[in-house]
Amino acid sequence: MSQNESPAEKIKKASNGLRGTLKQSLGDEHTGAIREDDQTLVKFHGMYMQDDRDRREERAAKKLERLYSFMIRLRLPGGFLTAEQYEEMHNIAGEHSTGIIKITTRQTVQLHGILKSHIKPTISAFNKIKLDSIAACGDVNRNVLATAHPKSSPIHEEVFGYADKISSLLLPKTRAYYEVWLDEEKLDEVNEEDPLYQDRYLPRKFKIAITIPPYNDVDVFANDVGLIAIIENNVLTGFNVAAGGGLGTTHGNADTYPRLATVLGYVPKEDVQKVVYEIATTQRDFGNRSDRKLSRLKYTIDRMGIDNFKKEVEQRSKVVFAPAKKAVITTRSDDYGWQKNHEGKWYYTVFVECGRILDSDVVKMKTAFFEIAQSRKATFRFTANQNIIISDIDDKDKKSVEDILKKHGVIEQTEKASNVRKQSMACVALNTCPLALAEGQRYMPQLITKIETLLDTHKLTGENIIIRMTGCPNGCARPYMGEIGFVGTAYGRYNMHLGANAEGTRLNKLYKENLNEEEILAELDGLFKMFAQQRKKKEAFGDFVMREAIFSESGLMI
């Protein structure tokens, strides 16, 4: 289907293994930007060119170009960091970026505001601690998620291993990353043949997550490939494989829609890599390469039909899907505070609002984590809820870790934060995201404060309601899977979605469009009132609104 290929396809093919003119771009002394085609290629290396959108007008008046900088996203399968790695990352963030360490909704971290001249130092510093950003973005497989839940740890190690293996299995073969950013000599003898990606890579980003029931902290059904670990009498036997998840939509484009992954069936663990690999090759060969808005696997599957797709994968992998095995998922949230695992190791899950690790006047979170890292008494895990788990702490060290957390007010803020706040997520949006139509993480905390007051007035204090916000319909904080979802339409305005469930197996529905804060609060006031009066015992808000006939046919309330 190479008729009218999208520009991105041409750039990929012409890129000589993702090298493009990146080296020349780095050499351009007159601009902080890189050349146009390279802006597409750099994503494959785990970076995005951005600019500070708050500063555009002012700088233009000063005859200065936009304040260009780069966001780098680490490839961190399972979201795990050793103490040494965390310490160095902290230093890198301080030296080369805004200093804020941003935990993403896919268990990794992003550093923002890295100037062009700082990219190479940043990457080589990460390289020294065996971290890279290869394929953290771009039309390839992305960071592979795995449940970070401490209680899951009996088989966590093993599942974590799969995340790592799959991530390596689906890595591009080109050495471009090492040549461009780490000055590696180009070796002619190394074979860059890439049977998976060839020279065209995938039509679009490709995402994989593994979850360990009953947990679904990774939102497994939002992924192109979702693997649900099947544990039979405490051993991992295999996975239920789901495919075709994806949330991104485009305002005013009816052909785009969020979709949860469809379960194809069960495969034993030794076959899972083969199957995942061939799902990727099927998408590579059948995916839409002319319209990037319709090129995700979810559209490929709906176009082929789920059965044809399944057949294709079975033929390619020579693995036949068994009927899915029973797997009960109950929650998506993190267990905040202290947890002890089966080996008696301690874990502390910290609530990191919108995933932003920084020092405020009250809470010195960044300092606390840094001191813990320096003490070498813990490891670090990021969760897909944008939180961090201080992990693998020996009994004898628990006190000293706790003291550090206390000293910097971390424990207090985690304990004090209300449940809605702890269940909420927002995407980055302004000022760095070029696609943002409205605020995300910069605004969500204030809105939550106002929602807390509403809940109080309706005696709903302490209610666990999952609220998610994004600055545009791309869905980076998975708003379509929130009991309440806010999707930015214009500055200060949001579409309001209602009705996903706590487990993450049901999408919400569009409820009202283009609301400003006042209208949002008015709507919620009414809904909470109804909820408080008419809910069944223990009924979750999402289930309640779906049960109550508050939606019209169209989905929109009349």
């Binding site: 002394e29 007159h30 700088r59 005859k63 170009e65 304040l67 100037l115 001249s117």
Partner: protein
């Protein structure tokens, strides 16, 4: 053409005149035609050797902006017409040791800085002032170029003139001090000299009358301007403030790329109030300055320098109030506060020893071809410094930085004939870190307007890429449109080790030299120290290594470029 009678008389006169007599007549008549100070007629006694006085004389010039050079060359042409051969040399090319052998030396020299000689004349100037030479056999004349708006009018010329005299050299003609409209006075001087020389050579007596040079009229065109826009080019977080200021004027402003504007700052209002208070006089008290009367506010506000006054003024004040005062630069307010005058001394006495505010120059960063004749742009870095804990600002850059749109300013155009664009087809290499970029913005707009096919290469530098890249988007547009062929930048404080333009030049040595060999002109503008020195050094290294010659030969190479008008500096 001549009436019959006259013609007859003239024929009589020239009939059997000797060659020399004819030459003299010619000079005499053209002097007459020059309608200015006529040389006293010599007693012609047939066998004079008129040429002897000036023949084989050397005309040396010390110039910054090319005026003195122009005058010097005119002189030698005038002398040639008289059949007198002369050598013309720039003072930095002149071997000072030749002075002893020299028979006749004519010096044309301007004054720069605060009464200093031009950079190119420094060597010569210091040599004669610091050495006890005996120049008894030397005959000389000095023409000084200057500007009456500076406190030390034609100081360098005066120094040279009086020093040569002191060293025993014989004055052919008294010193002439020319203001900015120097052409006429210069003509008059050379004619007078020719006349005198002849008188001299015949009478053998020094025909020089010691008369004080008459105060030159300032023929400078002063423009009334209005600030049409002003903005700080540096982004927040920068250590600097660099203002792009656009000044518009009713009458068309005559300038070329490479010129500067000069203006006189107004003193800080608070500082003025302080001074008046210390002098215990009220705003409207009338005071005299340079044969004119002003109200106290006018005078201290706009005319006389009260900030960072030079040592010489401080010392005069010390004498006036007869107190011991260290010989340092001081603000008038501090001086009055720490060493108050006794009741004996009147404010007018104090005013008498104070100096006029010297104009400051700012390279024009616009091009008439691109922006029209109704406006000029300048690029002003607000000079700030720290005095016991508190930030202080330079007088004029602070005044300009604080000007708001709609406010009035007066300025004049300071021509710079030795900083001109070459022919359109010639390549241009511009090295202009900081505000040094100003004239190059003008150059680029001009070259674009000309549709010049020559290539343009700019080296720019400052502290930080993000906040200090002056005119970044304009320069980027020049790259897109192809006007700017290459743009290299050095931002000194973006990395641990400092990086400056000269390092970028070294990195580009190969290509840079091929441009030079290709006939490119080199221009340097910006801070004199250390930038211009370091850049010149880098150039010498590049030439030496690329041509594989030693440093001295490289110097020669660069000198030839200078002589050929291919190497230009405008540094401050």
């Amino acid at each position: 053409m001549l009436a019959e009678v006259k013609l007859k008389a003239f024929r009589e006169l020239v009939k059997d005149a000797t060659k020399d007599e004819l030459i003299w007549m010619n000079g005499f008549i053209s002097a007459l035609a020059g309608d200015i100070a006529i040389a006293p007629a010599p007693e012609t006694n047939g066998k004079v050797n008129t040429v002897s006085a000036l023949s084989g004389c050397t005309i040396v010039y010390g110039t910054e902006t090319g005026n003195s050079k122009k005058v010097a060359i005119d002189f030698s042409n005038r002398l040639k017409k008289q059949g007198v051969q002369s050598k013309v040399k720039s003072l930095d090319q002149y071997k000072v040791t030749d002075l002893a052998k020299e028979s006749c030396l004519l010096v044309v020299i301007s004054t720069q800085g605060d009464g200093e000689p031009p950079a190119a004349a420094k060597k010569f100037y210091d040599y004669i002032l610091q050495n006890e030479l005996s120049l008894n056999s030397l005959k000389y004349g000095v023409l000084a170029l200057g500007d009456t708006s500076y406190p030390l009018f034609c100081q360098a010329g005066e120094d040279v003139d009086s020093r040569l005299n002191k060293l025993g050299a014989e004055r052919l003609i008294e010193l002439k001090k020319c203001d900015t409209d120097f052409e006429e006075d210069a003509q008059a001087w050379i004619n007078e000299l020719i006349g005198k020389a002849l008188a001299f050579s015949t009478s053998g007596t020094n025909g020089v009358v010691e008369t004080k040079a008459k105060p030159a009229r300032t023929g400078k065109k002063i423009y009334d301007g209005i600030i049409s826009s002003t903005l700080n080019l540096n982004d927040s977080g920068s250590a600097k403030e660099t203002y792009h200021i656009e000044i518009s004027s009713e009458d068309e402003i005559v300038y070329e790329p490479g010129d500067s504007i000069g203006l006189v700052a107004e003193n800080n209002v608070a500082a003025v109030a302080k001074v008046l208070e210390l002098l215990a006089i009220d705003n409207n008290e009338i005071l005299q300055h340079k044969e004119q009367s002003y109200t106290a506010v006018e005078l201290f506000g706009k005319k006389i320098n009260i900030q960072h006054m030079p040592e010489r003024v401080v010392q005069q004040y010390a004498r006036l109030v007869n107190k011991e005062i260290p010989s340092i630069k001081m603000d008038l307010a501090d001086l009055l506060r720490i060493y108050p005058p006794d009741n004996g001394t009147t404010p007018q006495q104090v005013v008498n020893i104070l100096e006029t505010i010297a104009p400051r120059l700012y390279s024009i960063s616009s091009s008439a071809a691109a922006h029209g004749q109704g406006e000029v742009h300048i690029t002003v870095c607000r000079s700030s410094f720290n005095i016991d804990g508190q930030t202080r600002y330079g007088l004029c850059s602070d005044y300009l930085a604080r000007l708001e749109e709609g406010q009035k300013v007066q300025f004049y155009v300071q021509k710079n004939n030795s900083f001109r664009l070459p022919t359109p087809e010639t390549d241009v290499i511009m090295i202009g870190p900081g505000t040094g970029v100003a004239p190059f913005r003008s150059f680029l707009f001009e070259r674009e307007a000309q549709g010049a096919e020559g290539r343009n290469w700019l080296f720019f530098g400052d502290q930080h890429f993000v906040s200090d890249f002056l005119y970044q988007t304009e320069l980027q547009t020049f790259m897109e449109t192809g006007v700017l062929t290459k743009l290299n930048t050095a931002f000194s404080r973006d990395q641990k080790h400092k990086v400056y333009v000269q390092h970028r030049m070294q990195q580009q040595a190969n290509e840079l030299f091929s441009w030079i060999e290709n006939g490119a002109n080199i221009y340097i503008c910006g801070a004199k120290d250390p930038m211009s020195a370091d850049v010149e050094d880098a150039l010498l290294n590049i030439i030496a290594t690329q041509k594989d010659i030693n440093k001295t030969d490289a110097k020669g190479y660069l000198n030839n470029m200078k002589e050929a008008g291919r190497y230009h500096k405008d540094v401050y």
